[in-house]
């Protein structure tokens, strides 16, 4: 794969349109979603995406294939987005885990010995994970919960669970250690679960 990526980058650097279109097809949707993750749905998103693509095209000549094109392009996008949002000073370094401790489940729901006193309610009659995943309202609810995650969690969860990247790719793209990647994934998924639990409680 690394060799294929290197060859594709060389062809783009040589100005080959078909190669550019191939890359656009391969990673365009991912970059678009990630841009939304970083800068929201604004007009800035459009500019960031265009700047990113310009930087990718210019960078192809010096692409060395040490990571995949996808993760390399993602790093370019992050840098471009950071530059644009720096003025708003709302972005946190990706490697930061935020406030030291964050509980997966509200600690008051456990007895001191560590067993549930307020356990999650089981799925209602006829509700299965597969069925829920297809439910429009559930999807919209989860989509909102995803958008409300802190940035680092949102980015990791988006790449892992929406885009289906593997852990190593995420670590490379975001400059995260394996442990921090896992912690962010867990916290993000835990918040998504809590949102799902809340939804199910209101819609038994």
């Amino acid at each position: 794969m690394a060799d294929e990526d290197l060859a594709l980058a060389k062809r783009i650097a040589a100005g080959e349109e078909a190669a550019f279109l191939a890359l656009l097809e391969a990673i365009g949707p991912t970059l678009k979603r990630l841009t939304r993750t970083f800068v929201g749905n604004s007009a800035i998103a459009e500019e960031v995406l265009q700047e990113t693509w310009a930087a990718i095209v210019d960078g192809c000549a010096s692409f060395e294939g040490r990571s995949g094109l996808k993760t390399w392009a993602c790093r370019i996008l992050i840098n471009t987005a950071k530059k644009r949002t720096a003025r708003e000073a709302r972005s946190v370094p990706m490697s930061s885990l935020g406030d030291g401790e964050e509980h997966t489940v509200d600690p008051s729901r456990f007895a001191p010995e560590g067993y549930w006193v307020a356990p999650p309610t089981p799925f209602g009659e006829g509700k299965t994970p597969e069925g829920l995943a297809l439910h429009k309202e559930v999807r919209e609810h989860i989509q909102r919960a995803l958008e409300e995650l802190p940035e680092a969690q949102r980015t990791v969860v988006t790449l892992r669970d929406v885009e289906g990247w593997d852990p190593q790719e995420v670590c490379n793209a975001l400059d995260l250690t394996e442990t921090n990647q896992r912690v962010l994934l867990h916290r993000g998924r835990a918040r998504i679960r809590a949102a799902l639990e809340l939804y199910l409680a209101g819609n038994p």
């Binding site: 349109e17 279109l21 989509q143």
Partner: protein
Amino acid sequence: MKRWIIKQVSRFMATCRETTEGYTDLTEGALSDTERKRMKRHLMVCPACKTYRAQMETGVKVLHELPKEEVTEAEKDALLSRFRLHPPSPPPRKQGGGSAGASGT
């Protein structure tokens, strides 16, 4: 007595709280052998934690099913014309006067 039993049990299997906190470590294969076994034993017998697991799995499933982002034709055209206007450096061919139309297809 109750405390003593709980202590003995927790040697053998994880608590609910440990299971919820460490769940992703389990699925990502980041637990030691002993910890993994403690958690798996707990998940075999605890209905509440089974529900927790089902909710975690459902969340991931829903995320996976979210509609994919699409690059629209208009966006694709815009990016492509930009690529034509600003080809990567060094340029693929010497800029001659009438060569612009050559890259038509």
